[in-house]
Structure formats: structure tokens, C-alpha cells
């Protein structure tokens, strides 16, 4: 396989973005990524676009070729990738693979979503399609509900406390407050988190990400050419992608997601590193408890120790591994199909030394994207060239 590098990234701000549709958002992020390099548009050979609920909420199919057309890229293969909230991570993975395997040299990848024009019940129902409708979601379970079932079990089994879980929200809102791209620019206190409105007991409003609009993009090429097109190229050290059970009842242990564990194993092996080598990570905190489980499944902390690690500051900006310096999904926002590419955007900025919440001397970074309650996951490991 050929080594692959990222030579340009772009991201819209996340939030309620008035006057921009799902295509506009994608085009804006892609233009920013393309403008970072002197690569002429004619050199781009393929486009992969992550999107989850655009057909349902934004009435737009054929999304990838439509966006490619607005970018002046009509003619190249343009493919929408759907894997629930991991759609963006999978789109990135496909761009990486096509270059690594020698099929293409320049590939544009992106993720986009437009959600704020829909009502909360419509969004809740659209997101619930990530589950197994026939065998689980028809009960009326929602994704906050699924992670609430998981949170209760994690607390019962490992003694993880409400306060430890709430501190994920406090940390991520504090970081989001300093990130100009973030939807929430305001810190919250632990008291506010544990007193916020119940969404699906025991998950409360500040345990959840907001409903968001946004898009992010990256331009990839073989690593050996990267310096010709970018002063600070970032190398893809490892990539993993795996599926898992769609329903909670199919899992022997609902406090761990096998898709994350498997994707991480693949990515670590490809990169030739261990979890201890990672200094900064963007993980899929679709709920506060999901960040704690991700830090355990990724091997940063032993099983059941993710809660104490947050309380001890080991996931803070100057902790053992800085987790979600962007503010994560909870504070930066979660335009679901865009999230995987937005994680890559943040980590490229970190490795270039250009991040809003800069982790000092970051050399190895990890992005973890999760769909549903573990039905799919991608793990991407990045490093300086």
C-alpha cells in the first residue's frame, strides 16, 4: 500500500446556519480544502461524501454528484457513503483506500448534514433509522434512550458516577467555548449538567449533542508528493473500519462496542503504534457516556476506568491524552454525516500547530467515529510527516 497524506482541509462553522442548504454547506467546506493547495481541480479523480439523513431531512438524493457539479468536478466518480453517524469517517476511509491501493492520486472527501430546519421529533425519528427497526427501534427506543440503557449498565457494573459522566460535558463545553467553529460557545457547570432536563433517563439535555448544520472536507494525495502541494502535510498512519451488532440485545456486553475495538485494532496495527502513543484524540461523544466508553474501547484506559480518568483530568488538554479538544460532538455540534470529516479537520489543525485549543507537541492523533449504538465504527490515526 502507498502512504497517504492530507494536503488540505476545510470546515464550515457548526450550528444553525441560516440560508445555507445541505449542498451549500458541502461546497463551502470543499472549496476551503481545495483552496489550501495549488492542486488544480482537473487533478481530482474521485469524490466521496458522507451523509446520513439528507434524503429524509433535506429532500436531496444524488448528493455526491450534485455537490461535485457545484465544485466544477462533473465527470469524476462521486459517491455518497452512508453509515449512520460514521458516514464521514467511512467517506474518508474510502478516499484513503483508493489512493493507498494505487487507483487514484488525488481524492476529495467530505461530510455534510442539514438538520436544524427539521423539528426535534423528525430528527429523532431520522436518527433512529440507524438502529434495527424490526428487532429493536419499533419499541420506541431512541438513540438517547439506547445510550441511557448503556449508561445505567456502565454505572451499575463499574461504579461510574453521575458526576464523572457529567464532567465530560463540563470539559467539552469548556473547550467548545474557545473554538470559533463550535455551536456552543459557553461553559457549563456540573450543577447545570445534572439539573438539566431529562431526555431519556438517566441521560439529560447537557449529556447530548445539539441538532446541527455543518460540513467538513479533506483533500488527499500520495504522501511522497505531499510536500509539493502543502507546507504542512499530515500523514495517515493507520485506518480501521468495522461493523458491529445493530441492536443492544445482540451485545453480550453493552458497555463496550466491538466495532470500535476491531477498527482500533486494525488502525493501531497499520500505524505500528499502541494506545499509549496517542497524544490527542477526537472521539465520538454522541453522549457523555459514549466518550467514556470510547476512551476504554480505544485502549486509553482500562475497562471501567474511563469515568475516574475524566474526573482526574487525564482527558483534559494537558492530560495523558487530550480528548475532544474541539469541544467534541457535545459542544462543537453534531451534523451527523459531517462529524467524521470534522474530526479529521480538527486533528490536522492540531498536528499543524494551528488549533484553537492547541495540544502542545502533538505528534500522533486519533479520530474515532461511531454509528448508531456501535453498528459501525472507523478509527483513523494521523501523524506529522
Amino acid at each position: 500500500m502507498r502512504a497517504v497524506a492530507i494536503i488540505g482541509v476545510g470546515s464550515t462553522p457548526f450550528g444553525k446556519i441560516e440560508g445555507q442548504g445541505i449542498v451549500d454547506l458541502a461546497v463551502s467546506a470543499c472549496r476551503e480544502a481545495m483552496a489550501e493547495t495549488p492542486v488544480p481541480r482537473e487533478k481530482i479523480q474521485a469524490f466521496y461524501l458522507g451523509n446520513f439523513v439528507g434524503e429524509r431531512l433535506a429532500n436531496q438524493g444524488s448528493l455526491a454528484p450534485v455537490v461535485a457539479g457545484r465544485l466544477g468536478l462533473t465527470g469524476i466518480p462521486a459517491t455518497k457513503v452512508e453509515g449512520a453517524c460514521a458516514s464521514g469517517g467511512i467517506a474518508f476511509r474510502h478516499g484513503f483506500l483508493t489512493i493507498a491501493l494505487g487507483l487514484y492520486d488525488f481524492v476529495l472527501v467530505a461530510g455534510t448534514e442539514k438538520m436544524t430546519a427539521s423539528s426535534t421529533p423528525e430528527v429523532t425519528a431520522a436518527l433512529a433509522t440507524a438502529g434495527d427497526e424490526e428487532l429493536e427501534m419499533r419499541t420506541g427506543l431512541t438513540f438517547p434512550g439506547a445510550f441511557a440503557v448503556v449508561m445505567r449498565e456502565h454505572m451499575a457494573r463499574y461504579g461510574t458516577t453521575r458526576e464523572q459522566i457529567g464532567l465530560v460535558s463540563v470539559k467539552n463545553h469548556g473547550l467548545g467555548a474557545q473554538n470559533p467553529k463550535a455551536q456552543f460557545r459557553k461553559s457549563v457547570t456540573l450543577e447545570e449538567v445534572v439539573a438539566s432536563r431529562l431526555i431519556a433517563d438517566p441521560i439529560r439535555l447537557f449529556d447530548c449533542p445539539p441538532i446541527s448544520d455543518g460540513a467538513a472536507a479533506a483533500l488527499l494525495c500520495p504522501a511522497e508528493w505531499a510536500r509539493d502541494f502543502c507546507p504542512k502535510p499530515i500523514k495517515v498512519l493507520g485506518s480501521g473500519h468495522a461493523s458491529g451488532p445493530a441492536a443492544l440485545w445482540q451485545m453480550d456486553d453493552i458497555t463496550s462496542f466491538p466495532a470500535t475495538v476491531r477498527a482500533a485494532r486494525e488502525a493501531y496495527a497499520m500505524a505500528g503504534i499502541t494506545p499509549g502513543d496517542v497524544q490527542v484524540a477526537e472521539v465520538h461523544d454522541c453522549f457523555t457516556i459514549a466518550e467514556i466508553i470510547a476512551t476504554e474501547d480505544l485502549g486509553f484506559f482500562p475497562k471501567g476506568k474511563g469515568g475516574p480518568a475524566v474526573a482526574e483530568g487525564r482527558t483534559g488538554l494537558d492530560g495523558r491524552v487530550a480528548v475532544n479538544p474541539s469541544g467534541g460532538l457535545i459542544a462543537k455540534g453534531h451534523p451527523v454525516g459531517a462529524t467524521g470529516c470534522a474530526q479529521v479537520y480538527e486533528l490536522v489543525k492540531q498536528l499543524r500547530g494551528e488549533a484553537a485549543n492547541q495540544v502542545q507537541n502533538a505528534e500522533v492523533a486519533l479520530a474515532h467515529n461511531l454509528g448508531g449504538s456501535g453498528v459501525v465504527s472507523t478509527v483513523t490515526i494521523l501523524g506529522r510527516i
Binding site: 426535534t120 421529533p121 419499541t139 420506541g140 427506543l141 440503557v149 448503556v150
Partner: protein, 105 residues
């Protein structure tokens, strides 16, 4: 009554509606009557429902383990204040839209 299916290939037991075995993918198998009795593992009360169940919230969904040794996610008719891990639960009725409905027993 609640019916299960024992996989012809790997012999694992699943809810009848699973059709092909969710563990090994094999089709077929033998239909078996289930006791409908089990215990509660974890649960949530849904306060922000999907659009189709908007009129029913709040309602409770539980993850239960049947006495036969496999798990189900079910709508649970119970006062959420009385729920605890390990609480005995039982099959109450089959709902065409929502699947099996359980109650505390």
C-alpha cells in the same frame, strides 16, 4: 404466547421474528414456545420520542434477559420509579407495531 426459534446450525435461541440467526446467519430452525419470563437488565424512560410515538411519551423501554438465556429490547409497562436491575419481568402481549410488551411480575 412468545415464540422463539432455535437455530438449526449453531443451536442458539432467538426471538422468532429474527428469522435468520443473528449470530451465525443460518436460516431456518425450530420454533419453540418461550416462558415469557425473565429479568430486567437495564432500562430508560423516553421523554423525547420519535414522531410516530409522540402521543405516548413518557414511556419505558427495557433490556431484558429471558429465562431461556437470550435478550430482548421491549416496551415495558411499569412505574419507572419501581424498576431495579434484576427485577422479574414477564411477557404481557404482542403489539403489531411495537413488538412484545412486557410488565413487571
Amino acid at each position: 404466547m412468545l415464540r422463539g426459534r432455535r437455530c438449526a446450525a449453531c443451536k442458539r435461541l432467538w426471538l422468532d421474528a429474527a428469522r435468520a440467526c443473528p449470530a451465525c446467519g443460518a436460516p431456518g430452525g425450530e420454533t419453540v414456545q418461550l416462558s415469557g419470563n425473565g429479568r430486567l437488565l437495564s432500562w430508560t424512560t423516553i421523554r423525547v420520542p420519535p414522531a410516530r410515538y409522540a402521543a405516548e411519551a413518557p414511556y419505558t423501554v427495557g433490556l431484558v434477559e429471558l429465562d431461556e438465556g437470550f435478550r430482548l429490547t421491549v416496551r415495558l409497562t411499569a412505574d419507572p420509579e419501581t424498576l431495579a436491575p434484576g427485577l422479574p419481568v414477564a411477557f404481557a402481549s404482542q403489539d403489531d407495531s411495537r413488538g412484545p410488551i412486557f410488565r413487571t411480575s
